[in-house]
Amino acid sequence: MKRNIRVIGIVFLFVLSFFLLQHLVEPKYMTNLVEGSFTREYYQETEGHEVIFIGDCEVYANISPMVLYEEEGITSYVRGNSQQLLWQSYGILKETLKYETPKVVVFNVGAMRYGEPVSEAYNRLFFDGMKWSREKLETLSHSMTEKENLFYYLFPILRYHSRITELTKEDFTYFFKSKKITHNGFLINQEVKPVGTFPTERKLGKDDFDEICYKYLDQMRILCEEHGITFVLMKAPSLYPYWPDVYEQRIQEYADKYHLDYYNFKEKTEKIGIDYSQDTYDGGLHLNLSGATKLSTYFSHILKEKYQLKDGRKDDKIKEIYDKKLKLYREEIENR
């Protein structure tokens, strides 16, 4: 009997050290590749949002929920990830709706370009912080590239073991704790790099998006319908990768067909006041803080006007929370 307890104790100790070591080698995404912490950060605040933004870097770099609140009292969260593909957008929307039911879901259509998994590295940024659920498994099965398999996600040590010799201070500092990276999903970037030249636009072999993209767009639309949520489409004012006219046409047709609102901010840059020599941090791919503030201000008025959203500033409870958030937001802007 005593011996059995000893054996069980030893086995337990090894299982424990396995998980501790596994956690040690997992990237912490706190100072380097912070984009990997976006999915996880949402779990700290899974309710109280009237608008949810879904999409790739064109949302998390361009839409600032703090500005939406400041301007119109809108409570919102950006569930964006680098290279978030359509099936991932659907997965993350489905997951979000488990926690809360917003009034409006805004989807950025940029990722409609991609009909197949692009890169293992981006998959990791998306999934590493995601809680295990049916949604995660479903999304994983659509997202994995050829060289990946489920074991790499179930046991991240199989993927990250080589980091054991590359551990940095970050891995120990953030072993048990983590810090806040985004402001309701928005990543502040204050650098300025004016627009330069881009590679020549490639000719398209097709005049429509891949079927699989439509499939997931449909599913998102239907999911919102089922939950009584208004599904809105947007296209951020990025100059590159190119957004060809034929893509624009298709989205417009889709929006018309299902009576959805579609905002292409690329066509409204003058009205918004975006100055591409000042308002982008990487030469026209993403907006910087100044650009994002302009775009968010502009969009906040539209959202408020069209979708009858509550003014959170008049609600003491919300005001108290958002005042704290705003304080942190401003502090970070000043400290940089």
Binding site: R3, R6, V7, I10, V11, L13, F14, S17, F18, L21, V25, E120, K147, E148, Y152, I157, L158, R159, H161, S162, I164, T165
Partner: protein
């Protein structure tokens, strides 16, 4: 009895399934081979046995050669199917079985299931070891599952993974960088020595997996390596490296040629001939390699000094140099690289750039410590095994747990690196 039969069926069923997964063509071809050799062995009792023996040997050797050549050449006869996996292993076992039946060493097996299992036993699919029929059946009949054999098997698997993933994985990164440079004796020398270690860790590590897995099932199969780098002569090396192939060559090539029963000159020629066959077995490209070893084994005084440690080192170096024929794409470049050992040197430049060959100082450190640890283990193997056998279950679990964590963390595997690619299975 009944239980034993069920186990045979289960083993065979799993094995057939594994083979089937590697292609229908190979599966059908190998199944057909099993049937032909099975019936041929049964009929060998009769008067016509001489011609039957020659006929079947001819059939198997020629079909083996035909398949190996046609599948490895660019203009394949069967572009849409792959060469049957494990065909080398399969053919050698069939040949040894038929020769043993013919010479009366064993009686032909009447039970087709048992015979099929001998050839199809799937853990040996990639690397062997090459069994004799009597050996395999003995191991199979004496199999005995126990928790201690299960744990022992597990440890053996971990040892294999340690060799394969921690040492060989890193070595292969280094060696591909060195062979790319291919300028100067220093690069050639370290490539050859490194390749020696790589081949050993990769191949014997693979065999550890096979034997460990069999141990877990309760089977104790024949060892294929026995500390080959501790030997003091090339001929001893061959008694401890890929033992099952060496013995096969001894019993079915060397001894029939006359073995030790003939004159001294004939004996030396026989040794050289045997090694030539071994070279050809690995591919015609390795003929010179076979000749090299044939000469070293038949003239042991060429590499003998009065000092044991010097002999050990010399044997290791000679064997390593001979791997040049495996390392470089053709015999000519292998000879050139061997020549460069004595003509160009470039040692200062080699060591100056040591950190630019794909492994940083930490990786080199891990590789070094692991290799030293491995050789320490090999030198104390018997003592360690005895200690482990006597030790408590708790201690064994601690050993298994620690080794598992070490392999998991320090192994070179995963995305961008495929564990299942054993170097030796190409030959």
């Amino acid at each position: 009895m009944a239980r034993s039969k069920i186990v045979e069926w289960i083993f065979l069923f799993i094995s057939l399934f594994v083979y089937l997964r590697f292609g229908l063509f190979g599966f059908c071809f190998l199944s057909f081979s099993v049937l032909i050799s099975y019936f041929a062995s049964l009929w060998m009792n009769r008067k016509n046995k001489k011609w039957l023996f020659i006929g079947t040997i001819f059939l198997f050797v020629s079909s083996f050669l035909f398949l190996k050549i046609s599948f490895s050449s660019v203009s394949s006869f069967f572009p849409s199917v792959v060469a049957p996996l494990g065909i080398s292993y399969f053919t050698l076992q069939i040949l040894s079985y038929l020769a043993d039946v013919y010479s009366g060493k064993i009686k032909p097996e009447k039970n087709l299931i048992r015979y099929a299992l001998y050839l199809f036993y799937f853990p040996c699919l990639f690397l062997g070891p090459i069994h004799r029929y009597s050996q395999f059946q003995k191991a199979f009949d004496e199999r005995h599952f126990s928790w201690s054999s299960f744990l022992h098997g597990w440890m053996r698997i971990l040892l294999g993974l340690f060799k394969k993933l921690i040492v060989a994985g890193r070595m292969s990164i280094w060696i591909s960088a060195w062979t790319l440079h291919a300028e100067g004796g220093a690069y050639a020398l370290f490539s050859m020595i490194g390749y020696s270690l790589l081949l050993y860790c990769d191949f014997s590590g693979g065999i550890d997996l096979v034997l460990g897995f069999s141990n877990m099932l309760g089977l104790t199969l024949q060892e294929n390596f026995d500390r080959p780098f501790f030997q003091t002569s090339v001929s001893d090396f061959w008694n401890h490296w890929h033992i099952s192939l060496s013995r096969w060559l001894r019993d079915y090539i060397y001894i029939p040629l006359g073995g030790n029963r003939v004159g001294k000159i004939r004996q030396k020629i026989n040794v050289i001939l045997t090694f030539l066959v071994s070279g050809i077995w690995h591919g015609t490209h390795y003929l010179l390699w076979g000749l090299f070893h044939g000469i070293l084994v038949s003239f042991p005084s060429l590499s003998k000094t009065p000092w044991t440690w010097v002999n050990r080192l010399l044997t290791f170096l000679l064997v390593s140099i001979s791997w040049a024929f495996f390392l470089y794409p053709d015999s000519l470049s292998a000879l050139q690289m061997i020549g460069s050992l004595f003509t160009t040197f470039q040692y200062p430049s080699f060591f100056r750039q040591i950190l630019t060959y794909g492994l940083d100082s930490i990786q080199i450190g891990i590789c070094f410590v692991a290799t030293v640890g491995l050789f320490w283990y090999e030198s104390k193997r018997t003592w360690i095994h005895q200690k482990l056998k006597k030790s408590s279950l708790e201690f064994q679990i601690v050993v298994i747990g620690s080794l598992s964590l070490i392999v998991l963390l320090f192994g070179v595997y995963g995305i961008g690196f495929h564990v299942e690619e054993f170097i030796y299975s190409r030959f």
